[in-house]
Symmetry: C2
Subunit: 295 residues, 2 copies
DNA sequence: CGTTTGCTTGATGAGATTCAACACTTGTGG
DNA sequence: CCACAAGTGTTGAATCTCATCAAGCAAACG
């Protein structure tokens, strides 16, 4: 693996260089080389939250970073597949386009997520990845990926694990789409987004949505109006606070257990709730601490 | 790989034997040995529709078949993961169980499909696989799977491809769940089921549903009543014929392009339609050949 | 032969979409 | 600099789709 292909830095689909081939400068985030940032295998593994192969300390393979501006596409539907992408920073969406040109949002990848897996099958991308903010993305040529997997058994195992993780995520998504009410979908969306942010070291309670109401609606199988209305309702009930795209989660347990919103006339603010009244022995029809009926 | 583990045939989670270790009898479907059926790598690859590694002609690894009766579980949620399953014959469902014990159907695997991938991540199954008919299933211990992938590069590549295929399938499922009407969901369900049957050499126009209306509804995010009503409506319009679980697809193009059913009073039978009246230059609001307004 | 399970069909209503109007922000070009 | 357009978000009213509740029937089963 020390004789990997050498690519000029101005090539958009570059791949791998030997660390010895160019003068490189180490820093915390990777190596800067000819104006581009590069990462080694250890950094990539940490990003993907998989164990670093023990024997790879002397690995000389480097992976190029590429920057995308908001709105740019990382890959498009039908494009030939030859590289995987790992998000180093920024926020994206992946979409499917149906026969009428409508976008269907599939996921909102962020730091540490792997993009492009859908292209492995039949060598063409089935979906499109669009940057929602400026992004820094690491290129992992599929050939290099395969070669590394062959060299390091643990790495290959980890890649299967990452794909399996993604599959499970989509299964849960399917379950959520077909079983939950609109309110429950929005509530889950907010809490899982918060969890993802806090896993990355950011605040899980207060964050900025990087996507439009329309994109959220597409992701959840709702219209943008329903999303907007639901956020307003949560806000009015004191479960969250909304100001444009700035969100604060004020009652995460309520959001997590919410299944269905009570009729509007029965709603009261969370601040007025009497926790002692909330039974814990039965399956509540509504979220345990969402609301208390007026009686 | 010629010194694989030897397991007695009465072990339920058996794995791999050397062909030389036992007297085996070859036949068209595999090798019969001590009352059990075994398959070699070539047969497994053909079943999965992936290329057989060229160098594997002399491969001695055999994979045990296990039979499941209708209703039996191949694996359950939370169960330790150590083997993958390949459907050789029969019909199954995979389900998720939510926090209230409700089943959420995720897929209906049949011949040639791979089960258990969801367990690779964190070594526990996230879903449950239940036989809907008597099934014959090939066991592929994950350790053997990994070892084979290490030995045959093409095989490893093919396994990534199979997982990618599964991922794309789920993505399309997500798009369908969140974007289509109830009628369109049922129509798609029928046509894709027909396509799968015809790929297996059976009739794609006339087949038996192996699952209940309830299971179809769970899979599509609908209630069983809606599924029943929709099938009845399709039947009345002449697009399909339904007799209990026996289905015949009479107008596949109509089913494929259907987006939304016209109001009941405007429906006419397909047999009465005047094809010449159907414009082809605009996106039709309803399926191109579903119905013609009365005017 | 009663019981269970699956399927169909009708009546009704809740929940989500659709259509529409308006406010707010952002970017553009004169 | 402002006018204007385009994109985004909120909210209301009307509509419609689909779920729910309920009843009845057929097939399967012990």
């Amino acid at each position: 693996m020390t004789t990997a292909a050498i690519t000029k830095s101005n090539s958009s689909l570059s791949s791998v260089i030997s660390k010895n081939a160019f003068p490189v400068v180490s820093n915390e985030a990777g190596w800067r080389c000819h104006g581009n940032l590069w990462s080694n295998l250890r950094e990539v593994c940490e990003l993907l939250r998989i164990p670093t192969p023990a024997a790879s300390a002397d690995e000389e393979v480097l992976f190029q970073h590429v920057r995308y501006k908001a709105g740019q596409r990382v890959h498009t539907i039908g494009q030939d597949f030859d590289t995987l992408y790992i998000v180093n920073s920024g926020f994206l969406k992946t979409v499917l386009i149906d026969e009428y040109g409508n976008e269907q949002v599939l996921s909102f990848p962020m730091k540490g997520d792997l993009l492009g897996i859908d292209g492995i099958h039949n060598q063409h991308h089935a979906s499109e990845a669009v940057a929602l903010s400026d992004c820094d993305i690491i290129l992992m040529p599929y050939k290099t990926f395969s070669a590394l997997g062959r060299t390091y058994a643990e790495l290959e195992q980890a890649m299967f694990s990452v794909m399996s993780r993604e599959l499970v995520r989509e299964q849960i998504m399917i379950g959520m789409l077909s079983a939950l009410s609109a309110e429950a979908k929005v509530a889950r969306f907010l809490t899982t987004l918060g969890e993802r942010f806090s896993q990355l070291g950011y605040s899980g309670k207060s964050f900025n949505l990087r996507m439009t109401r329309h994109e959220i609606g597409s992701y959840l199988g709702l219209t943008l109006e329903t999303v907007s209305r639901t956020l307003s309702a949560f806000n009015e009930m004191g479960m969250i606070s909304v100001d444009q795209r700035q969100i604060a989660l004020l009652d995460v347990p309520a959001l997590k257990t919410l299944r269905r919103l009570p009729p509007a006339k029965a709603r009261i603010k969370v601040s007025e709730k009497v926790s002692a009244l909330v039974g814990k022995n039965l399956l509540p029809q509504w979220g345990k601490e969402v609301a208390v009926a007026l009686n």
